[in-house]
Structures are given as C-alpha cells and as structure tokens.
C-alpha cells in the first residue's frame, strides 16, 4: 500500500524535465524582485523528508534546506560538501570513509558531528526511498572519530560518492532534532543547508518559501533573501508565468522551447532521462507471451522510434534502445539502434513465438506532465502488429508506483533518469522488487556480470557495465524508445549560474544567483 514510500527515485529526474519550474518575485509584486527567487515545480513534493523525497522532482525542495555530504558538479566531478575528504578503504568497494567539515552547525543550532551524520545516514538506509535498492548494500554506518564517519557495505557499492551527492539525496544530513520525530519532517526542515523552510509562508502542495539559515557555514553561498518554489502543474501556465515576469525559471516540455526562445527567454538543455515501456512481466506470470524473448524483441521492432521521438521531443530527444546516456559508464554507442523499426520482422517473430494474431496486454502509465504520451504512441504502433493494450493512466506519481508494485500490470510506461549503471541495475536488473522490476525478475548471467562489475576497480567498471547493458537490451526486458533532454527557460537578464548537464540539475542552493 505504502504509496509514497514506494516512490523510487530516478523516475523523477525525468519528472524534472516536465515539472520543475521556477517563478520569481511575483508574489510581492516585484518590489524586491532581485532579492527573491521564486521557483516553480510542476509537482508538489511527495514529502519534505529529504531521504523519502522523490529524486529529481523534489530535489530543489530538499537541497535548499539540507546540505549533502558531497556535491556533484556540472562536469560530473564529485566535490566537497559537508565532507571535505572521502574515499574507499581497501579493495572491493565495500568500506568508505568521510572526513567532515569543522565547525558546521545545523540551522537549529545543533553542532554537526560524526555521530549526527551517522545517525542520519542510518535513518536514510533504513527508511529512505531507496532503502531496498540503492542503499541496500550498506550494512552499517559508524562514527569512527569526532568528525569521521565510516560506511560498511555487505556487497560492493562502487558509486557511494554519487549516492551521497545533492542529486541522489541519500547524503542529506538531518539534525538529531528531526530524527527524534521523523513525522515532523513532512512539513518542516531540519537541515544544515543555506536556507530553512518558512512554513508560515508556505502552503503545502502550492508554494514553499525558504529564508536564509542564520547558522550556515558559508554565507557567501546565500544569494537570495527569499526563495519561493511554486507548484504549477500545467506546463503552459508554467511557461506563461516566466514569460509574463511572474516567474524567473521554468522547466519546459520539448515543443515549448521555440515559444520560450521567441519570447526572449534563455533556454538551456542537456540529456537527462530515457523513456519507453517496461516489459516487466518477463516470466509471463500475468501475460504469458512476454515470457518469450522473441515476443519482447518483436515489441521492440514494432516501434518507430524516430517518428515518436521527433513528434514528442523534436530536437530535444534522440531515439535509443538502452537504459543509459552518453557519458555514463554503461552507455553502448551502437545500442541506440539495436532494434530498427521493422514491423514485418516483428510480425514474423510474433508468429514464430506462436502469436500470429497478436495478443492483448494490460499496461499502466502515469498521466503526470504528459508522460503518458510516449507510451500511448508506442501502444498504437503495437496495435499495427496485432498487440492490443488496455491502458490504465494514473494521475499521480505515487499512485503509479504503488500500482506498479502491486504486480497487476505486465507492462509499465516509464521515464527514468540517467544514472551510473550500478544504481540503474539495482532498480532494473537485479532481483529486488522495485517499481521498475516489480516481479523481481532474475537472470543468473546478468547478476554475475553486474557483481563482477561492482567489485571491479574504477577503470574496469565501464567495460563490464557495457557488457551487462548489451545483455539486458538483447534480452529485451524493456522497450526503450527515446532519450530526452531536460530543458529550462529562464530570464537571462536576471539569473546567473543556471546550468544543466547530463544527470545534473540547476543548483538553486548554491549556484543560481542574481546577475
């Protein structure tokens, strides 16, 4: 049942592309517009508990109030955050140590100690959104000195530094006061970030106001007297808000970019996620045909990726058949076109598998931010090879994830952010029940490949992960269709430091400042 807990992360990086928007200064009539940054998200945060928040769509809400142990830069390099030094201890990527910054206090005045950090990480690994996946390898977190924290893993975890950055949120450090009563975190902030949530000036689900944290360790990072995040679910309204000066920054859907540019806004973009349909029931529990790899491949061949990508994303998307982005460790360049559009071949494969007249399938998609468009387009093309899909559309991310976990849908529309393959594999390729692998499908060969990659030294990992990616795409566990950009439009005359990159969001907490 637990709906919001099931909200597994990276779906929402993709959410960002359609959802996070910014609007500035409007609410006070612009009298001190330069001092207020008002940002608009297209979806309200599921919760403000930093480790339960949705990765991608909720990051701004969390990052403003919670500093993370490490920080990801736009170039993909890991930089110091609340920790100044970090690294694996010994071989096998199982032990990791962090040295904390001195003299840091939480916004509530409590000193930030190794004890507090260990407690916070412990809470995250047990209760966080991705407790069952990304942090499942972590066995214990201990304070080994006043400012030293050690993370011990039961199995190799090769990307702990990334797990602890401001994108993945697990490293958001929560004050002991917050941990004392976690239910309070839903509506209040207990972090050591540059701002604090001003609940008096916020209305949950509508707008969230942040004011500077008087105890922040680096005052030079605080660029605004006030940051407001306003929830506007309609992308047209979000762009209109920026166009009319009611807002400064908004995310766009692809075909809004031209409109935004023509009205004088700055538009930036970078690859962020990929979308398609997950053939989750690979064992054929609900839909027997899906157990046959030829059927799954047929469903891949039946999709005209070029046409769909062009129609939905225009130049802000590229066709792909894999679960990775250029620049990430598992990316296989020639696997962007593993299944060229070939309905005849699809039909042939279906016939070979014993389904010459096709079959009927139930599928679930989420209707938030027009995410249902791409799966709808795919289903319509499947129809041409005889496969009929009965679609259920959920109107919230939470409902989608919880329905996905209920194992009642053999196929699921997906939008998933580009991640290091280790993290992707936990959600998709290993037998953990997740919204992306609800039936916990397993494949011993795949598991073995992934295991050796995780424990391998840094330099050998990309090659091994590419091998795993090839294998899973060949097995056609899913129908990836497009790689898509996140696109932001903002008032270039007002804002500076708005940057996007693959797997990187505009950093409101530190980098976005008045021009």
């Amino acid at each position: 049942m637990s709906r919001h807990r099931a909200v597994v992360g990276m779906i929402s990086i993709a959410l960002v592309t359609g959802s996070v928007a910014a609007c500035g200064g409007g609410s006070t009539g612009g009298s001190n517009a330069a001092e207020t940054l008002t940002v608009v998200a297209s979806a309200a945060p599921a919760t403000l508990d930093p480790v339960k928040a949705n990765v991608g769509s909720d990051n701004w809400f969390v990052n403003l109030a919670y500093d993370t142990l490490l920080r990801l830069g736009p170039d993909g390099d890991v930089q110091p955050g609340l920790a100044v030094r970090w690294g694996y201890v010994g071989k096998n990527n199982t032990t990791f140590e962090l040295k904390l910054r001195e003299g840091v206090k939480f916004a509530d005045g409590t000193p930030l100690t190794a004890q507090a950090v260990a407690a916070s990480l412990d809470y995250a690994r047990k209760n966080g959104l991705n407790a069952a996946t990304w942090s499942s390898a972590i066995e214990s977190v201990t304070a080994t000195g006043p400012l030293t924290v050690r993370i011990n893993c039961s199995t190799p975890h090769p990307v702990l530094p990334l797990l602890l950055d401001q994108i993945q949120l697990v490293g958001s450090v929560i004050s002991p006061k917050g941990l004392a009563d976690p239910s309070k975190m839903g509506a209040n902030s207990f972090g050591a970030g540059p701002y604090v949530l001003d609940s008096a000036q916020s209305a949950s689900g509508d707008h969230y106001t942040y004011t500077p944290n008087p105890n922040y360790w680096d005052k030079s990072r605080i660029h605004w007297k006030k940051v407001v995040i306003k929830v506007v679910t309609n992308p047209s309204s979000a762009l209109d808000a920026v166009k009319t000066g009611q807002a400064d920054l908004t995310a766009l859907v692809a075909n809004q970019a031209d409109t935004a540019k023509s009205s004088g806004l700055a538009v930036i973009n970078a690859p962020i996620a990929f979308a398609g349909v997950n053939l989750a029931d690979r064992d054929g529990t609900l839909a027997k045909p899906l157990a046959d790899v030829r059927v799954r491949q047929a469903l891949n061949y039946a999709v005209d990726r070029q046409a769909i990508t062009q129609a939905i994303f225009k130049e802000y998307g590229q066709p792909t058949t894999q679960l990775s982005l250029p620049g990430l460790d598992g990316y296989v360049p020639d696997y962007d076109n593993r299944y060229p559009y070939d309905p005849a071949k699809a039909k042939k494969l279906l016939a070979e598998a014993g389904y010459p007249d096709g079959f009927t399938l139930r599928a679930e998609v989420q209707g938030v931010n027009g995410f249902d468009l791409l799966p709808q387009a795919v289903f319509q093309q499947w129809k041409q090879v005889g496969v009929t899909v009965n679609v259920v559309t959920d109107t919230t991310v939470g409902a989608f994830l919880s329905n996905a976990m209920s194992k009642s849908f053999p196929a699921l529309g997906f939008a998933y952010g580009g991640l290091p393959t280790y993290l992707t594999s936990l959600d998709w390729m290993l037998p953990h029940a997740s919204p992306f692998n609800p039936f916990a499908s397993q494949d011993p060969k795949l598991a073995k490949l992934l295991e050796s990659a995780a424990s391998a030294p840094q330099a050998r990992q990309p090659g091994l992960y590419r091998e795993a990616m090839r294998y899973v795409v060949d097995q056609a566990w899913f129908v990836a269709v497009s790689r898509q950009d996140q696109i932001f439009a903002f008032d270039g005359k007002k804002l500076d430091g708005v940057t996007v990159a693959s797997g990187y969001l505009p950093d409101l907490a530190w980098e976005v400042k008045p021009r």
Binding site: M1, S2, R3, H4, R5, A6, C23, G26, S27, T28, G29, A44, A46, T47, L48, K126, N127, A131, A132, S183, K184, M185, G186, A187, S202, A203, S204, G205, D206, H207, K230, V231, V232, T233, N234, S237, D240, A241, K243, T244, Q246, T395, T396, G398, A399, M405
Partner: protein, 315 residues
C-alpha cells in the same frame, strides 16, 4: 429582534446536516480499498508495527466507535494529519481557507452587484439589453469554468498581460496584488453567476413592478427613484438573496476547477488533490469545513431574510 433566536434555531437545525455529511463521508471513506495504517507503517514494517499503528489510529474498532472517536476529536479541534505530508489537517485547511473564501466571496459580491445592476437595467430598458443579458446568461451558464478560465488566461494574462497567469497573493501581503490575482479567476467563476442573478433580478423586478402597491405608490405620486430603489428593489431582493445563497454554495463546484487551472492553493482544489491521493483525513476535514461554510451561508441568507422581510421577523 428575533435574530438571535433565529440564529440559534437555525444552528440547531443545521446539526443534522453536519452530522449527515460527516457520517456519510466517514462511511464512504471507510469503504476505500486500502488501509491508512499500511500507508503510514510503510512497506518495510513488521506485522507488529502495523498492528500497533492500527491500534493507535483506532482502526481496529467498530465503525460507529471510530466515528464517535473522530467526532470527539473534532470537538477538540483535532482533525488528524495528512497521510502524505504529515501536516495537521487543521493547519493545512487554515492555510487554504482564505484563498477559497476570497474567491467565493469576491465572486458572490461581483455577481451580486453586476447581476443586480444588469438585471435592473434590463428590466427598465428591456429590448436589446434584455437580449444581451439573456445571451450572456446562456453563454455564462454554458461555458464550463475550466474552459472559460483557459480562455481568459490566454487573452488577458498571456496576450494582454493585464493580470497574473497563476497564483494567489495573500491579502495581508499585498492588497493590490491580492485583487489582481483574483480578477481572472473571479471572472471565470462569476460570469455564469452574474447572468443568473441578472435574470433573477429582472424577473423579480418586473414581477414586483406589477404588484398593486407599486401602482398605488405611482398613483399617489411617490418619487420614481424611491419606488425603484427603495420599494421595488427591497421587495425583489428576497428571491435574489435566495438565489445568491444557493449560488454561493454551487460556486464551490466552479472553484474546484478554477483553483486547479490558476494553481491557487484553496480548499476546493485541495479536496480534488486529496481525492486523487486518497488522503482521507484531508478529505474528511475539507468536507467538514465546506459543510460548515454551507451552514454559515444558509444562516446569512436567513438573517438577510429577517433584515429584508418583516413578515419573517415578526411572525
């Protein structure tokens, strides 16, 4: 005179309504598949934790007992907390009440004033104006508020940039901004209402004009201005007030849509969101608030009757 007694009597009479809606919601909500305890406990909880939370929430009790507990809680001013944000329902609603109230009150005032003015004008002038009011009534009633809202946004916010596209500005923060943020939503809500009031006003004014006492006044030389504004309007006011009261309640429907389109944090859109999310305590709280609102509106209408019609006051 009897106003206080009337207030008390009406309040007592409205208790069944409060009871009915809360009980109805309670029963309906108890039918919702799924269990809030599961939601709160989370998927990694043990059976023991789950039983404990169920006990804490009183979900292991029979339904009537649960309802009674909820009622007594309500009397202590505690409506529970959102299953999602964990925020107290009362504070969520308190935050959002001003938005919906602003919208409804502003829409009522606008439709009252504009409707009565238009209605009077068309009653006196007849002809073309009457046709315009009729046409406007037809369009105002027929145009769904969510569609109308999109239309006015496109024209007045995006193209002409006269008003903000979205959002609500609290009155205490910036009265000018507050008014500005209400204009387009109120137009979307009130267009149909203006038409209804205008029609009602025209009908009851024409009706009153034909009553004997008006002829007696005309025949005995009362000033036409006094006849229209003092006597006709006052007598025509009763049905207008009735309609206005009914309208205020039914405007809630339009408010749901308009709050959603304009991204305004009101109670109506909250109810819609909570519906989508199955956030049961929030739904219950919102329904309770809305029912109280309905009761208050009815009370105000009754008091207006007392003020306007001596027959109610003295009998």
């Amino acid at each position: 005179m009897g106003a206080l007694r009337l207030v008390i009597r009406r309040l007592l009479a409205s208790m069944p309504l409060l009871f009915l809606t809360s009980a109805l919601t309670f029963v309906l909500v108890s039918l919702v598949p799924g269990d809030p305890a599961r939601t709160i406990a989370g998927q990694h909880s043990t059976a023991e934790q789950y039983r404990l939370i169920r006990g804490q929430l009183g979900l292991d009790q029979p339904l009537p007992v649960q309802y009674w507990n909820w009622l007594t809680q309500v009397f202590r001013g505690d409506l529970g907390s959102s299953l999602f944000s964990g925020e107290a329902v009362t504070s969520i609603l308190q935050n959002r009440l001003p938005v919906s109230l602003s919208l409804i009150l502003a829409s009522t005032v606008v439709s009252g004033l504009a409707g009565v003015a238009l209605g009077l004008l068309s009653a006196r002038r007849g002809g073309v104006l009457m046709k315009i009011v009729d046409g406007l009534a037809l369009f105002g009633l027929a145009a769904p508020p969510f569609w109308l809202a999109l239309l006015v946004i496109e024209v007045f916010a995006v193209t002409l940039r006269w008003f903000p596209v979205t959002g609500y500005v609290p009155l205490e923060e910036d009265p000018g901004g507050w008014a500005g943020s209400l204009v387009l939503p109120v137009v979307s809500i009130a267009l149909g209402a203006v038409a209804i009031i205008a029609k009602q006003t025209r009908d009851s004014v024409l009706d009153t004009m034909n009553r004997d006492f008006i002829r007696v006044m005309q025949a005995n030389g009362f000033s036409p201005r006094s006849i229209l504004y003092r006597h006709i309007l006052r007598n025509a006011a009763l049905p207008i007030v009735t309609v206005l009261g009914v309208l205020m309640v039914s405007l809630l429907g339009a408010v749901v849509f308009v709050e959603t389109v304009f991204a305004m944090p009101g109670v109506a859109s909250l109810t819609q969101q909570a519906t989508v999310q199955h956030d049961i305590p929030v739904i219950q709280g919102a329904v309770l608030y809305i029912t109280v609102f309905v009761i208050v509106v009815n009370l105000v209408v009754d008091l207006a009757y007392v003020r306007l019609d001596p027959r109610v006051r003295t009998s």
